[in-house]
């Protein structure tokens, strides 16, 4: 016999009450846990994916769309920019590094990105197997792409126009897989990388093929296989790394004012996106706290009522030698046991729900959300629920402390 057995026996004696209190609290904690996991991982993903990209330059349109499309690869391009103009910008003195992106095609919902190998360097993506492309229509796959499409080095596939499976197929120009990247937990895992000219080739009309055989004297800084200053070719965007902090002030203004292109900062747009999402997150968090508040109230009422029913139990325990403090601790323990159970179940439930979500929703696998990540905030939630249990049982435990043996047992 000890206090914990006593407390658990009391809780078991009222199973429905106990269950209700635990479920209420568990639901509140679970909602907060899910939001926490979502929010944290989303922020981590965003900062991982925007690392090394100070500015995205593309066709005019929505800056948020430009970022979503060219950094996170979840929206459609705003349009194309002229290669000649992009080259001029890439040579600007404030630009340290510029990576071209040519988008437009996909295979089985996985986006094909025409770029150069320094795009992979942004995400520290190294080859797991195979080699980098050396010719047009050769591709390197992201780790998740290779896994989900079950493609290996040497396999071929035909791309489709647009981002959906149903897009117009480019049957005459099949791609061949040359390499597969290691997993990086960033957006590159879900991409198919190739060179920019492959994208042009797939989209080129039959009559323009003769251009390829021309001898190139001055090659483009963005597309090494192509001639510099070609104003007939287009790409989707440029990912820019600043040379120095002054660039952050001057470069976006220069681009937006003096060119036909648009510049958008991933950090700024991500923050804007979060402030839009924030309203929903806050509403849900508020709802979760209301649940927790109700559960706290419910625990308090349950303890308060059962203390009244148990006044004889308390008096007899005092008569049997229990000190006031022992009864106070027992009552505190009862409240704390409820909240600790509730929060543990809630935390587990949060992770389980997220796990089920990643299993059931295919799109969430692409985002790389994981249910098996733990944050220190969860420890704070646990400690908070401990304190909550003590607060709920504060008044009841004081009642227990004040039990007057004589008055109760003399039975007036």
């Amino acid at each position: 016999m000890n206090l914990l057995i006593l407390v658990i026996s009391y809780l078991k004696a009222k199973p429905l009450n106990t269950l209700l209190n635990i479920i209420l609290l568990a639901l509140g904690i679970a909602v907060i846990t899910i939001l926490l996991l979502f929010n944290h991982q989303l922020r981590e993903k965003i900062s991982d994916n925007t690392k090394g990209i100070d500015l995205v330059v593309g066709a005019k349109g929505s800056p948020l769309q430009l970022i979503l499309c060219n950094v996170f690869h979840i929206d459609f391009p705003t349009g194309n920019i002229n290669l000649k103009e992009a080259e001029r910008l890439a040579k600007h003195r404030l630009v340290k590094n510029a990576i071209p992106l040519a988008l437009g095609d996909s295979y089985q919902n996985f986006r094909i990105v025409g770029t150069n190998p320094s795009y992979a360097d942004l995400y520290q993506a190294e080859l797991a197997t195979g080699v980098w492309w050396s010719a047009d229509l050769e591709v390197v796959l992201g780790a998740a792409t290779a896994e989900l499409l079950k493609l290996e080095v040497g396999d071929t596939f035909e791309s489709a126009h647009g981002l959906s499976k149903e897009g117009h197929a480019h049957e005459e120009n099949p791609f061949v897989v040359r390499g597969v990247l290691k997993k990086t937990n960033s957006v590159i895992d879900n991409l198919i990388l190739t060179n920019v000219s492959s994208i042009w080739k797939v989209h080129a009309e039959h009559d323009s093929i003769e251009m390829v055989s021309k001898i190139i004297s001055d090659t483009s800084v963005l597309v090494p296989t192509h001639e510099a200053g070609d104003s007939t070719k287009e790409i989707t965007s440029l990912l820019i790394k600043y040379r120095n902090p002054i660039a952050a002030i001057q470069l976006p203004r220069y681009i937006n004012t003096f060119t036909s292109m648009q510049a958008a900062s991933p950090a700024f747009e991500a923050a804007r996106l979060f402030s839009i999402l924030g309203v929903g997150v806050e509403a849900l968090t508020g709802f979760a706290y209301v649940l927790i508040l109700i559960s706290a109230l419910s625990i308090f009422i349950a303890l308060y009522n059962s203390l009244k029913e148990r006044q004889y139990d308390l008096a007899i325990m005092r008569a049997m030698g229990a000190s006031r403090t022992k009864l106070l601790i027992a009552t505190q323990l009862e409240g704390v046991t409820l909240t600790v159970l509730g929060s543990l179940i809630g935390l587990a439930l949060g992770h389980i729900v997220l796990y089920a979500f990643t299993l059931l929703v295919a799109e969430s696998q692409k985002t790389g959300l994981s249910a098996f990540v733990f944050y220190k905030e969860e420890l704070y939630l646990f400690i908070g629920s401990l304190v909550l249990g003590m607060l709920c049982s504060l008044i009841p435990s004081f009642q227990a402390y004040r039990t007057n043996i004589h008055k109760v047992l003399a039975g007036s």
Binding site: M1, N2, S9, A13, Y312, G321, S323, R324, K326, H406
Partner: protein
Amino acid sequence: MIKTQSLSYSYNTSKEIHFADLAIQDNTQFLLLGESGSGKTTLLHLLGGLLSSQKGSIEVNGTDLTKLSEAELDRFRGKQYGFIFQRNHLIQALTVEKNLLLAPFLAGLKQDSNRIDEVLEQLGIADKKYSKIQELSLGQAQRVAIARAVLNKPAIILADEPTSALDDKNCERVSELLLTVAKQNQATLVIATHDQRLKSKITNLIQL
């Protein structure tokens, strides 16, 4: 050995109950006989250390209860006394065994399962060890309450109206039981009651 000297208690300023000096020997049985409101429960609670702030002194086995701090009194109660009340006041949430284990636990004594078997055997309810309190008959529940009172081998058993709600047959049985277990466990038995039927069983009377 229980000794009191010029003991009195007042619930409020107007009414003060004075108690005659007592001297109760070890291993004896006493009846505190008196009508309702005569202060027998008050006296029993004073003797049992359940009620303090009285005038006078109460000496139990060489210890003056009035000089003990509350915590010391709690410990003293747990080790020296067994209490039996008119209603059994068992803890419904616990089994018979756990109810009994509560006695040594709260008194800070060793929890001995053999002792539980022994006492349940003495009271003839050994088969009820793992029963829930709700499953017991009234008579069985009272036996469990008696078992709980004697479990720690207390020097003194105080009983408050243990028989007044019972019919003649059960009154006879419970009083026999109390006397037997008190003797078996070498405890002094003090019964506060207005039940005249007990007079035939216990000859030492304290009339209030």
